[in-house]
């Protein structure tokens, strides 16, 4: 009984991890950049979402606007920074990324942007019904998260496998130079990749904002490292790996807390899982050599 309920809660938690990590792993796949500022995109998405929602009062419009804005924001980050650093050593874009994350978080805390206070995101379940059975239940909010995640993942899957764009990413992730040599417009392709990945992060921000009914400037702190654990765990650049890792992590966190309690803060459990994993499978669950 309690086990099933915990599993269903873990599934929802995993959904919020998946959207965040999916975008990050896509970016890593093509650029091989550890994009910490991805967590700022997530915060910006949530912020735009809550603003739009308070403006128009419709969750779906808010979600769409937030995804568009965070997509554009992601592309801007790429064009203004990573674009110039593509051929420098790996640590350079990493440091730039950390710097941007800190800068954006501080900026967002300014009173003329998000300010110090948390904002409520009272979208509820956006009109979706709650599901209640004898064994487990999903609240309307949880149904919403599940549905949005499944739809977005389906779209990403289709883009990756059925479009030229998706193929160009796959080519670029194998060998950037070769890909551009065979006529792929690398810049456009990378920008599109950033757009989609960032839009997913924005969606994650909106969903988490609705789920916890709160949006605030420092909400990206936790995802900034947790999303990393997930993509390393899943195998860098592997989308199915990120999904699998999100599920495992969410289930481990939920069950450890539910059965033994907080032996450790739940977020350090993620690191523990990561360390154990790296000892036995250094390339991650679905990573390739």
């Amino acid at each position: 009984m309690l086990v099933l309920q915990n599993l269903s809660n873990a599934l929802i938690l995993a959904c919020t991890y998946i959207l965040m990590a999916a975008g990050l792993t896509m970016v890593y796949g093509v650029l091989k950049v550890l994009h910490i500022a991805h967590a700022s995109v997530y915060t910006v998405g949530a912020f735009v979402g809550v603003l739009t929602f308070s403006w128009v009062g419709n969750f779906w419009i808010a979600l769409t606007v937030a995804m568009l804005v965070s997509g554009v924001f992601g592309v801007l980050i790429y064009r203004s920074t990573y674009f110039y650093l593509l051929n420098s050593p790996r640590t350079v874009p990493l440091i730039a990324s950390v710097g941007m994350f800190v800068m954006f978080t501080d900026l967002l805390q300014k009173p003329f942007l998000m300010g110090a206070y948390q904002r409520a995101f009272p979208a509820g379940g956006a009109g979706l019904p709650a599901i209640k059975t004898a064994l487990f239940s999903f609240t309307a909010k949880q149904v919403l998260i599940l549905i949005v995640t499944v739809i977005l993942l389906a779209i990403v899957y289709l883009i990756l496998t059925r479009t030229k764009l998706g193929l160009s990413w796959q080519a670029a992730s194998m060998d950037r130079e070769m890909a551009s040599a065979v006529g792929i417009n690398l810049n456009q392709s990378i920008a599109a990749n950033f757009f989609l990945g960032s839009a997913l992060a924005g969606a994650a921000g909106v969903l988490v904002g609705v789920y916890n009914n709160s949006v605030f400037a420092t909400m990206g702190d936790l995802p900034s490292y947790k999303a990393f654990i997930i993509i390393v765990l899943g195998g860098m650049g592997s989308l199915p790996g990120a999904i699998l890792a999100s599920l495992i992590l969410a289930i481990v966190e939920n069950f450890l807390v539910a059965s033994i309690g907080y032996v450790l803060p739940r977020d350090s459990i993620a690191f523990l899982v990561l360390i154990l994993m790296l000892m036995f499978r250094p390339n991650g669950l679905l990573g390739r050599e």
């Binding site: 110039y84 650093l85 009173p111 609240t139 709160s214």
Partner: protein, 432 residues
């Protein structure tokens, strides 16, 4: 490529310098023009109404001038103030700062202190102990303040306290309620109610006022939560409460569902949960989502309009113990609540009330002492009796350990606002 890279790095450095430069002082909003309709000056009579244990002498008042207070003149009296207006605690720190500024404004409108204007010297400590101790040194050596107020959390306040103690400068902790702070020495006073005392009142509320027996305790894993829980458990044992579950969670937790399942299974009749308003809002709304309908008892960490806003309908019926009674008719409480909302466009909270009171107590002490001599200020605070000029309820007196003794109220959320639920005036219970 090289030149572009270096250009970019330089641009980043410049940008970060600009940001850092304007960071600390950016937050305080300029107080809006406010017609000086101070209805405060009749505070003296109000003191008589409280059933304080020693109603021996009427409070020595801050000579409230009847009409047209003389404008303060001369060299300003500087008091230090630090609070986190950036970082995770920025909401509380901003509220504390704004309230302290409001108090200074009111005092100066009423003629200042010793006829001189009061001046707040403010720094942002980001709730970090290392920053707080650096600020303490700066306030003492560079700004030469006569006294200081910590508008920060326990960690930062504990770091600053020994520095003020050593320098012989009085420091008042506004709402940091860890026991160690006042144990630093004779210069350090507390405005808020000691955590263990408030925990004790929480147990009394559950066992005596609500007549419930089986409690699940959920503690935020820091100084604040642990000291509250200690007080609760100690009194729970005395009055025979049964603790069926006890859990700790880390600061900033947002996912309480696994714990809520455990509480449901434990057979508890009531939850005593420590935490700040954001954790509390998540806890309460998730509990109601998951069908956990038993009462949830909180404490002053919940005491913010933000809690009700974030938790929404789930906040209804939540009961907390706190220092601020929003239904109080006491003139200073009304003045604070109304002026805060008028000046800053948002509702005041407990943290703000405590910072406001800290300034009021300090101004009273300097006035009573008749000088800015640290020892005289300390003496005036320790001898304070039935002090009414505060937002968060009368200060009956200070114990020799520099803890305040006064009634503690509990508030219930009804129709989206905090309302008085019960007031604890039993001296044996509320005395630390």
């Amino acid at each position: 490529m090289k030149s572009k890279l270096s250009f970019l790095l330089i641009a980043l450095v410049i940008l970060s310098l600009v940001l850092a430069g304007c960071a600390p002082q950016a937050t305080p909003t300029a107080p809006a023009e406010q017609p000086a309709q101070t209805e405060a000056p009749q505070v003296t009579e109000a003191a008589a109404e409280t059933e304080a244990p020693q109603p021996t002498e009427a409070p020595m008042e801050t000579e409230a001038p009847a009409e047209e207070p003389a404008a303060p003149s001369g060299e300003p009296i500087k008091i230090g103030f630090f609070s986190p207006t950036t970082g995770f605690a920025a909401a509380d720190g901003t509220s504390a700062l704004q309230s302290a500024q409001l108090a200074v404004k009111i005092i100066n409108e009423r003629g200042g202190v010793l006829g001189r204007p009061l001046e707040l010297v403010y720094y942002d400590d980001a709730a970090k102990p290392d920053q707080a101790s650096a600020i303490a040194r700066k306030l003492i050596e560079q700004d030469k303040v006569v006294a200081a107020i910590s508008g920060s959390y326990s960690g930062a306040t504990r770091a600053a306290a020994p520095i003020f103690q050593e320098a012989g400068i009085p420091m008042l902790s506004a709402y940091a309620i860890h026991p160690e702070i006042t144990k630093t020495g004779n210069m350090i006073f507390r405005i808020g109610t000691l955590a263990t005392t408030q925990g004790r009142v929480g147990a009394e509320l559950v066992g005596k006022v609500m007549n419930l027996k089986k409690v699940a305790i959920l503690t935020i894993d820091n100084d604040f939560g642990i000291s509250l829980t200690d007080g609760f458990k100690q009194h729970a044992a005395e009055i025979g409460l049964e603790i069926v579950l006890e859990e700790k969670y880390p600061l900033g937790e947002t996912e309480f569902r696994p714990i809520i399942g455990k509480i449901k299974a434990s057979g508890a009749e009531v939850v005593y949960a420590t935490g700040y308003y954001n954790e509390a809002a998540n806890l309460v709304s998730q509990a109601r989502d998951e069908g956990l309908e038993i009462p949830i008892i909180g404490q002053e960490g919940y005491d913010s309009p933000k809690f009700i806003e974030l938790a929404g309908p789930a906040a209804e019926g939540v009961i907390i113990t706190t220092d601020l009674n929003r239904d109080s008719e006491r003139p200073m409480t009304r003045l604070f609540l109304e002026q805060y909302e008028a000046t800053y466009g948002e509702k005041a909270d407990m943290v703000g009330a405590s910072a406001f009171d800290a300034v009021m107590v300090l101004a009273y002490a300097i006035n009573t002492a008749g000088s800015t001599d640290p020892q005289a200020i300390v003496k005036a605070i320790s001898e304070l009796k039935n002090f009414e000029d505060v937002a968060s309820g009368p200060f009956w007196y200070y114990t020799p350990e520099r803890e305040v003794v006064r009634p503690i109220s509990s508030q219930i959320v009804r129709d989206g606002a905090f309302h008085l639920y019960h007031e604890f005036t039993d001296e044996a219970l509320v005395k630390p």
